[in-house]
């Protein structure tokens, strides 16, 4: 790959993380926790996005980030108070910068309508007044350069002399930072004198090769702002002791210069004090100045604190393919171990023998290994939840309602496969909660509720599954209207007697809502049946609890992973298949007269008086040797989303177990009626059947007059 391209990919990955940090910070500010550390974190995030963006020439992104950054800098320096209005504007700016990043990623570095927010930001940045005035707002191609003038803000301008003490920690070098490059960058800013401080250098015998001993004292003179100096240290700030001080302006001589000839002389470690230098003399004077300018010190403390925090949760970025390979290998090991154990047993060795005991130990270790490997794939649901605040903000504006989103349990971990697929259903449900659940502000006030509606999104682990709840404090489901609508759409007869719960569940019925696809997010009244279907596809369930007047709560329960499935292992002829347990209602031994012929093609099974269609897997999938005598067969009653209940006839149930899902579509193609494959304990492949697919296959078979000739249909 083009090296630049791969750097770009890394940049966008980092952007994603920075945007999350920014959003978190902004939301914390919104909740009134606007301390220095949070403001700094937001500032750093925007600044880093801008910096990287500049390197790749994303102009629209950079110019927007620049204005944004300027405003944040003013807040950071205490010039601008983060009042609710300001924060609202910042939140919108945050949304836009994320749009800009997305646009840059997809290569369309234009076309984002950010002028309105830009203008607001400009106003907040206080530059409008300094500049030519209102006329500037009309010029769409506002040159970013103009803001550079204002950026210095409160900083001292014109000729200034700075004293910088820069003492790198070993960690700076371990992150491949190079002091020389930083010094070179500083040299560009103005006249610079540098002196190496070798006082900490120990005798050679005590020298740790990876430790950092050398510090530098720098005197920098020119038209330089503190920000410019801090920028030079941007990537090193967390890994060094850095003191930046403004020397008294009357200090005409560059104080370090006369001392330069001293430098070549070796400084012996025996001398514990700082080596004599002009800087040391200049320092005390500088301290007074720095006391006056307290804020930089505080900033530094905040930086150090954040550095500690990030060190606490260290992580690495790993290609998902590598993890999957590891998961596969661990799974294979378990199977190999099982086969080995079986061979040992067959060889007549007792489990108390050395070999047997070793194998047992081996098995324990393998299980642990497999669990640890699976745990690598889990992620906090945060990555999905963090998209919601923005959605809520946008919806609040669209609907004119006041909405507060409360997020709980966002650190709950679940497999990446689930994370990837719950985003859309959640988006829909939150949209519904705000659009239909919450009443308009006036109605809320009239009902004696707070004007601001609350939507709660929470996640937790409960008995091996993840439970996600979406609750609102709105009006609850209007059961009369739901019932009327269901009757109007012909979903229930007008005479039907339904419990409250049954009425609430009508909203999940196909056809209740007009929107038909889950991607139709612009439509109002998004189909809850679509939401339900996508949850069921994930092996999950959805339920609703609604209390008139005080709101509704949707509860989703989902498996922790899609890589593993609870299945019922069945035998059909000489083949073994797995049926997903989530679709199975019950199983029963077939009696001689349980199955009745119905018409020419169908058979019906008598389940305690109600009749369900029968699907014989053996016939359907063309398996030889499948038992045709009902008396020995087993009927498994399943429920399909598309065709309702039916009975699957198999020869025997072999057991129930968790199986690892293996796709073969990449190597072969989709097969109707088969969801995926798995590998059984004996190393053989077994197919996992797709209940919906079987129902459709059975129907298709009936429609084509000669079922035997139904060949692979591809997809």
């Amino acid at each position: 790959m083009d090296p630049m391209e791969s750097i770009k990919i890394t940049y966008f990955e980092e952007c994603a993380e920075l945007l999350v940090a920014m959003e978190e910070g902004l939301i914390a500010m919104e909740n009134g926790e606007a301390d220095d550390e949070i403001i700094n974190a937001v500032f750093r995030a925007v600044h880093s996005i801008k910096g990287g963006g500049g390197a790749f020439g994303f102009e629209a992104l950079v110019s927007f980030a620049h204005i944004f950054e300027t405003v944040l800098d003013r807040i950071r320096s205490g010039e601008l108070v983060p009042e609710p209005d300001v924060i609202k504007c910042l939140l919108r700016a945050g949304d836009l910068i994320s749009d800009h990043v997305n646009a840059a990623r997809s290569g369309s570095d234009a076309g984002i309508d950010d002028e309105e927010v830009k203008d607001e930001l400009r106003e907040l940045s206080g530059e409008a007044s300094e500049e030519a005035g209102a006329d500037d707002f009309e010029g769409l191609d506002f040159a970013p350069m103009q803001f550079d003038l204002g950026e210095s803000g409160p900083e001292v301008k014109a000729e200034s002399v700075w004293s910088i003490h820069f003492a790198p920690h070993a960690s700076l070098y371990s992150k491949a930072n190079e002091p020389y490059l930083i010094l070179r960058e500083l040299a560009v800013l103005g006249d610079m004198a540098v002196e190496a401080d070798l006082s900490r250098l120990p005798p050679l015998s005590l020298l740790e090769p990876e430790e950092a001993y050398i510090a530098w004292n720098i005197v920098l003179r020119g038209d330089i702002t503190r920000t410019a100096i801090e920028e030079a240290f941007e990537f090193a700030a967390e890994d060094c002791d850095l003191v930046i001080e403004l020397l008294p302006p009357d200090n005409d001589e560059l104080p370090a210069l006369p001392q330069l000839p001293d430098l070549p002389e070796p400084v012996y470690p025996a001398v514990p004090d700082l080596p004599a230098s002009g800087l040391a003399d200049a320092m005390p004077a500088a301290v007074a100045v720095s006391d006056a300018l307290k804020s930089p010190e505080q900033q530094k403390d905040a930086t150090a604190e954040t550095a500690q925090k990030s060190a606490a949760s260290q992580s690495i970025r790993v290609d998902l393919d590598k993890v999957d390979r590891l998961v596969n290998l661990a799974g294979e090991l378990v199977i190999t171990q099982a086969m080995l154990a079986q061979s040992v047993q067959e060889a007549g060795l007792r489990s108390t023998s050395k070999l047997g005991a070793g194998l047992v130990e081996f098995e324990h270790l393998l299980r642990e290994l497999q669990e640890s490997v699976m745990a690598i794939r889990t992620q906090p649901v945060k990555s999905v939840f963090q998209r919601m605040p923005r959605l809520v903000r946008e919806l609040a504006v669209q609907t004119g309602k006041q909405v507060r989103l409360v997020v709980e349990g966002e650190s709950t971990e679940v497999d990446k496969t689930v994370i990837d697929r719950i985003g859309e259903p959640l988006t829909h449900m939150i949209r519904n909660a705000i659009d239909h659940g919450l009443e308009p502000t006036e109605a809320r006030i009239a009902a004696g509720k707070p004007a601001e509606g609350t939507v709660t999104l929470s996640a937790e682990h409960r008995s091996g599954r993840i439970v996600i709840e979406i609750a609102d404090d709105g009006a609850g489901i209007n059961r009369v209207r739901v019932r009327d609508k269901a009757i109007e759409k012909g979903l229930i007869p007008a005479s039907a007697v339904l419990s409250d719960e049954e009425t609430d569940n009508l909203i999940f019925m196909p056809g209740f809502s007009t929107a038909s696809t889950i991607s139709n997010i612009s439509g109002r009244g998004v189909g809850m049946d679509v939401v339900r279907r996508s949850i069921v596809e994930l092996g999950g369930r959805i339920s609703i609890v609604s209390t008139p007047g005080s709101g509704s709560r949707f509860v989703l329960t989902l498996p922790l992973t899609l890589a593993v499935l609870d299945g019922m292992v069945v035998a059909v002829g000489d083949q073994t298949y797995v049926l997903p347990l989530s679709h199975i209602i019950e199983s029963m031994k077939l009696g001689k007269s349980d199955i009745h012929s119905y018409g020419r093609e169908w058979e019906l099974l008598d389940v305690r008086g109600s009749f369900v269609p029968v699907v014989r897997i053996g016939n359907l999938l063309g398996i030889e040797g499948s038992c045709h005598k009902d008396a020995n067969g087993v009927a498994i009653l399943v429920e399909s989303e598309s065709t309702g209940r039916f009975a699957v006839i198999v020869d025997a149930i072999l057991g129930q177990r968790q199986v690892v899902i293996k796709s073969f579509e990449n190597n072969y193609r989709h097969i109707e009626g088969v969801a995926a494959a798995t590998i059984l304990g004996n190393g053989r492949v077994a197919l996992i059947l797709d209940i919906d697919g079987l129902a459709l296959l059975r129907r298709a078979q009936r429609e084509s007059a000669t079922p035997v000739e139904l060949k692979a249909t591809g997809s």
Binding site: N667, R669, V674
Partner: protein, 161 residues
């Protein structure tokens, strides 16, 4: 053929040869990942005859194509001597059931002839060329096309001899 012209610049290519139903075939050695003994497959429902099913290749579900059946000579009666040639192109892996692996050849590019332009049959759509080694004619297979054909709507009836 375009493909052959392209490789001509690279000089010689190495092929693994194997036999199936009395014919010699060759596949570019770079596409072959491994060769393993026959293991019983799990049949796939409603698949064409030449797709024997899937096996477990260290955690990967590998579809196995019966070369003999693919060429229209009927299904191979397998025994322990049969081998599965594992072919990998890009991220796709399939197994090829053949009678035996014979040799590795390194023919001169010039020696590879384009396949005769016959009427379209079961073979021609995945034949890359023909080469003669030691007076034996060897058909060079285009494994990419063979793989692609697995995804198409197969008409198995026409393949059966």
């Amino acid at each position: 053929m375009e493909e052959i012209n392209k490789t001509a610049k690279e000089g010689r290519r190495q092929f693994i040869t194997f036999c199936s139903s009395g014919q010699e075939f060759a596949a570019d050695i770079m596409t072959i990942r491994e060769i393993r003994g026959w293991t019983p497959t799990t049949p796939l429902p409603n698949a064409p005859d030449h797709v024997r099913g899937v096996i477990n290749l260290r955690g990967v579900v590998l579809p196995v194509v019966d070369m003999r059946a693919r060429l229209g000579h009927g299904i191979t009666e397998t025994n322990a001597k049969h081998v599965i040639v594992v072919v990998k192109i890009a991220e796709r892996v399939i197994g090829l059931l053949v009678d035996a692996v014979s040799d590795i050849i390194t023919p001169d590019i010039d020696e590879i002839q384009a396949s005769p332009d016959l009427t379209r049959d079961a073979e021609s759509d995945f034949v890359e060329g023909i080469v003669v080694v030691d007076e034996k004619m060897i058909t060079i297979l285009n494994m990419g096309h063979l793989m692609d054909s697995l995804r198409e709507h197969a008409a198995p009836g026409t393949l059966v001899a």
